[in-house]
């Protein structure tokens, strides 16, 4: 197994700042916007962006929720591994809100498809956007594209993109892992 660094801590920081600025361009003061981190790995990115928006760009009262898509997945009973659920926590109203889904890596698009179904259980959003740190090009199974992306990556099927976060994995970095 070998791995290559795609983004180091400095490059991640630059990408996060750019993503935060792009969100501000479209969402102004975030009064009608809610951020939804997708469980399990999207929540770290979502929390980082929230902190950045609040501390560096002085935007207050950003609403952040966590959405778990396990019960909406299309591979239930089809994968060999049992699916493990994570906590969903959406303590605000989603009806008529502008929702931004936040996830670390966009690959086949299937989890985003599941998230689109899952969020309907909380009401009818005004619109839904997608922000991902890494967009794996040419690997989509569904017609889904991000509205905001940190870095576009070409990776072949046997390769894996791994995002590690300081608060969970000890360092900020994105790796391309070859088996």
């Amino acid at each position: 197994m070998s791995q290559k660094v795609l983004l180091n801590a400095t490059e991640i920081n630059i990408a996060l700042n750019r993503l935060a600025c792009q969100l501000i361009e479209n969402h102004d003061d975030f009064s009608n916007t809610v951020l939804i981190g997708l469980q399990p790995r999207g929540v770290f990115l979502a929390e980082r962006l929230k902190t950045l928006l609040e501390e560096e760009y002085d935007i207050e009262n950003i609403k952040l929720g966590y959405l778990d898509i396990t019960f909406y997945r299309d591979d239930f009973r089809r994968s060999n591994k049992p699916l493990e659920a994570n906590k969903t926590s959406i303590i605000f109203i989603v009806e008529d809100k502008r929702v931004v889904f936040i996830d670390d890596v966009l690959f086949t698009g299937r989890s985003i498809r599941s998230a689109l179904t899952a969020i309907q259980s909380f009401g009818r959003p005004l619109e839904i956007e997608l922000l991902t740190l890494i967009d794996r090009r040419f690997s989509r199974h569904l017609p889904i594209q991000p509205d905001y992306r940190g870095r576009q990556v070409d990776a072949i099927d046997g390769e894996k993109v791994r995002v590690s976060w300081k608060e969970n994995d000890g360092e900020d970095a994105v790796y391309l892992v070859k088996n």
Partner: protein, 311 residues
């Protein structure tokens, strides 16, 4: 993590890790059933048959609601309106239903061991919803889950089960579940309604209600099952109430606040008075709500073991 079993036939047959997995999964489903839209699509290609060879209101509704909240297709069957009265055997009845592509069977049956028997002869996941005086595993799971929710943990807690232990599948399943989770269990009630070898289960018998209540953190009041009593086990209902009924005066006179549970249906004024059943210390309605989440968890976890390509 997945369950160690393909059927839920009784608490006796599952491990502590299984119970913890069911609880953690139920936590997620409890959040789901409090959403504006209380339904997930996980089981949309699973069909479940609810076979009730014995009367039930709460358990049947709870299972059906759990199945529907998981998007399963549901068919219902009650023995009173079926061909069982024409002499069909249990295996034939179930195999006929399964030939219509049913993946899971939830069954209540008056004979102890009916679920175990069926699981050996038919190809479907079996969930025991009560088999005679043997086990009622989902009730025990929701009872212990409710204790965990109310007191934070089950391990180390003192639980007394009061009433008709002899005829009660709820008592047996609860004893197994509580012991697997590390709780201390006593039983209390008329000597005539105690099984002969109760001490073999590691459970002690306390004949005095007040002493039992002073000892415990949780009191689970069982229903007096008049329909199962072929002979007279106690002189009169009034005498039972005087000795083993829980009333507000007795509850308030205890040195600490205990949690009161009841699996339902309640005989108000017999084993428990109305003011106790409706008091702050009672978690009877929480038990019912948790029942749906627990049954969703059990069905979801069993269904995840039915592989798609085996259909």
């Amino acid at each position: 993590m997945e369950l160690s079993v393909n059927h839920l036939l009784g608490i006796k047959y599952i491990t502590e890790a299984d119970i913890q997995l069911i609880f953690e999964t139920a936590d997620h489903f409890k959040e789901v059933i409090n959403r504006p839209i209380k339904k997930v699509p996980s089981l949309r290609d699973i069909t479940i048959a609810n076979l009730f060879f014995e009367n039930s209101t709460r358990t049947k509704l709870s299972f059906e609601l759990a199945e529907k909240r998981l998007s399963a297709d549901v068919i219902n069957f009650a023995s009173s309106s079926s061909s069982v009265s024409k002499g069909e055997t249990l295996i034939d009845t179930v195999n006929n239903i399964l030939s219509m592509k049913v993946d899971m069977v939830v069954m209540r049956h008056p004979n102890p061991g009916a679920g175990v028997f069926l699981s050996k002869h038919v190809k479907a996941s079996i969930v025991n919803a009560g088999d005679g005086a043997h086990e009622h595993p989902t009730q025990a799971l929701l009872d212990t889950y409710s204790i965990r929710e109310k007191l934070g943990d089950v391990a180390g807690k003192k639980v007394v089960i009061i009433g008709d232990i002899l005829h009660s599948r709820v008592a047996l399943s609860n004893i197994f579940a509580l012991q697997k989770l590390g709780a201390l269990v006593k039983v209390c009630g008329p000597k005539t309604l105690m099984p002969k070898f109760i001490d073999k289960l590691g459970v002690s018998f306390e004949p005095k209600l007040r002493k039992a209540l002073e000892w415990c953190d949780v009191a689970n009041m069982l229903r007096v099952q008049n329909e199962r009593m072929d002979i007279s086990y106690f002189p009169t209902t009034r005498e039972y109430t005087q000795q083993f009924g829980l009333n507000k005066a007795l509850l308030d006179s205890l040195s600490k606040e205990i949690v009161v549970m009841h699996p339902g249906p309640i005989n108000r004024g017999v084993e428990i008075t109305s003011d106790v059943a409706d008091s702050k210390q009672s978690i009877i309605l929480e038990q019912v709500q948790n029942g749906v989440a627990i049954r969703m968890a059990v069905i979801y976890l069993l269904a995840s073991k039915i592989k798609h390509n085996e259909d």
